[in-house]
Symmetry: C2
Subunit: 411 residues, 2 copies
């Protein structure tokens, strides 16, 4: 259990299988985000049919509403949200810094005000471990401090050091729970399902902090998987890619690697070529609700555009999703113009499938030994389409605030 | 084609089969409302899986947005909305009176202002026939004038008379279209699918106007089916039932009968016992979006209530819908409290299934000869639950404005 097996390599890219209590995750893989125990607008069967092997949910949101103990009483997160495949919960570290109205960082933990009702709460590494045990996800995350992408060195250093000290406490609490037989919330058909804890490497855009962080996380291991945090939070995209290159030789080669808060399509592929296996991002569902969809031939399009008024073709002629198999662009545009919920569903589903398929295709080409060329061609075409529409796909990653405006996601 | 075959009777209640170009409709049957070419929040496969044999769409809404000619260009309404079973379109008569901001009734037709952008349009009987031919539904409705439920006799008389004169013009246009081979919009796998026109009997709550109306509609026939309009528009429920009793002997026994704008569960059964076969209503989806659900044992409940916070049971223990098979009340409440779209979907789906199942059950018991007793027991239990929660299921039907606030429906 919790083993990661690499099944193929192509350059630095890897294909593998992560074995979790609720099932296997074949990587590279995108994890759709179910912030509040639902992938926004979608039913779990739709998410599974789109190819999702694992979803992410948010500790911060579920702690505030409906409460972790209630989820435990109801049989854990899997049963609560009717999702029987693996789940990963983020620790809330990212949210208390990006989403909570006020937060105060102390060595003990973070005091924050709920973005819902202004109530005050304290998250400590120990508390966050307890909450995640109650929720009962397969993979739980360490509590970290995540500074903005443009943070100065002193801020980044302090956050990285604190994250390491907190990791020590997370590990200790996790080990105590294991030793004391504290049952996880997931008790339906998995009888107190076991969990694994992933550490998060911080260090912002400073290569030496990243290297040092990775080495000191390793000392606290072994870990079934490693997360890379503090990227895709407003730094230049090239900086993000550079940090992945710095970390690649530092992370144990035989463990899964999860880049938090990423997936725009180009970032996902750039990260796969730098040795990353797992991803999550709210972009597919958030963009979908705004009427924005990724397409193979035209890049990102907004379905509300007048040019789609009488367009009888599918949203993306190269896509195999339910939306593209059954509806015209004209109908999708109609749903958005008329304010119909089905439109939000159909575009969210398409975008989720788009990223899941990108992961599948990366896996297939890695296994076939053709990844490098395929990824290069794919990226060139995507960037050409982006350049045509004049918004330049390469630039700066989304800010923390933008990433969490309506959903949780990770950091 | 368009034949209605009665397969069983129990008292005045009838079970039958209405044969339409896109499939059979076994009655009694509820028709979910897809105002803007989508049953709100639901995908067509979900509506079909819930047991819907036919859906209703609205001429008024689709004329304004996206436009009937566009729907024709895209292969007709069936293909546009990805629904391959029968469709009935309402004529827009009800909407121009209840929903349009300003309307001016002339003998020629009704001039009205769009509720969307204030633009001015003219609906005449001929124009409404042309629009419905473009949309391509299996059953299209005559253009009628629908007064409020509390209308005085003079108003009701004038509306009924005008509706009869307009029916004459509708029929004439319909016959011209048939004679001239004007193709309907539904051309995908049904090659210019044929249509049938249903007349609407008006007359408000005046028995003599209803009787006279029915007789004069018959003179313009024969008709494949008959609609009863101008009920469920703010009149006392007992008045509605009384009008159905007045009409029952007047309508040809061997044709299907459609009571427009009805279905609350009690009204549906009361109407079936008075010889009605078909129904439509926006209540299941509108209530669902408001968090209100029908249940067998507790009547109408609001899932947002605090008492459901930790309720691990299904929404309705006697229901076989997707929602009740897979989710707890606690989870459904969480979705509504957290503002998640999936909640709107799950409650809408449950309510739609609730009414469809009521139709199925009525059909089965009519066929078994046990309808009268079953309906009486069902109504007694439903009313007892309603009395317990103190809101009295029997009273006045919804007003026209309330019925159309967010959706189309019929009148």
């Amino acid at each position: 259990m919790f083993e990661y097996e690499i099944t193929a390599r192509d350059g630095r890219a890897r294909a593998g299988v992560l074995r979790l209590p609720h099932g296997e995750v074949r990587t590279p893989a995108f994890m759709p985000v179910g912030t509040q125990a639902t992938v926004k607008t979608l039913a779990p069967e739709e998410v599974a049919a789109a190819g999702a092997q694992i979803v992410l949910a948010n500790t911060y949101h579920l702690f505030l509403r409906p409460g972790a103990e209630l989820v435990r009483e109801l049989g854990g997160l899997h049963r609560f949200m009717n999702w029987q495949r693996p789940i990963l919960t983020d620790s809330g570290g990212f949210q208390v810094f990006s989403l909570a109205q006020i937060n105060e960082v102390q060595e003990e933990g973070v005091v924050f005000q709920s973005h819902i009702d202004g109530s005050r709460h304290l998250f400590t590494p120990e508390r966050v471990m307890d909450i995640q045990r109650s929720l009962g996800a397969d993979v739980i995350m360490a509590f970290d401090e995540c500074p903005p992408g443009q943070a100065e060195r002193a801020v980044a250093l302090e956050a990285s050091e604190r994250t390491l000290r907190w990791l020590h406490r997370c590990r200790q609490r996790f080990q105590e729970q294991e030793r004391d037989g504290v049952r996880s919330g997931a008790e339906d058909r998995f009888q107190a399902s076991p969990q694994t804890l992933f550490p998060i490497v911080q260090g912002s855009t400073f290569a030496d902090l990243r290297r040092d962080g990775a080495r000191r996380v390793a000392e606290l291991g072994p870990w079934a998987g490693w997360a890379i945090g503090g990227l895709s939070v407003g730094e230049p995209k090239q900086k993000m890619y550079e940090m992945l290159e710095v970390l690649d030789p530092e992370l144990p080669d035989d463990r899964s690697r999860y880049l938090m808060g990423v997936g725009y399509p180009d970032d996902l592929l750039e990260a796969v070529r730098r040795g990353v296996d797992l991803f999550d991002c709210v972009a597919p569902t958030r963009n979908g609700r705004n009427g924005t969809a990724w397409t193979a031939a035209e890049g990102q399009v907004n379905i509300k555009a007048a040019r789609f008024r009488a367009d009888a073709g599918p949203l993306d002629a190269e896509c195999d999703c339910y939306t593209c198999r059954n509806y015209s662009r004209a109908y999708l545009r109609h749903l958005f113009v008329a304010g119909e919920v089905l439109g939000l569903r159909l575009l969210s589903l398409h975008n989720v499938r788009f990223l899941l398929r990108l992961g599948e295709k990366a896996r297939e080409t890695i296994e076939a030994g053709t990844f490098a060329g395929w990824a290069e061609d794919w990226l060139a075409r995507y960037r050409e389409a982006a350049a045509k529409r004049g918004d330049g796909a390469i630039g700066v990653t989304g800010t923390m605030r933008a990433r969490t405006a309506t959903e949780g996601g990770t950091g």
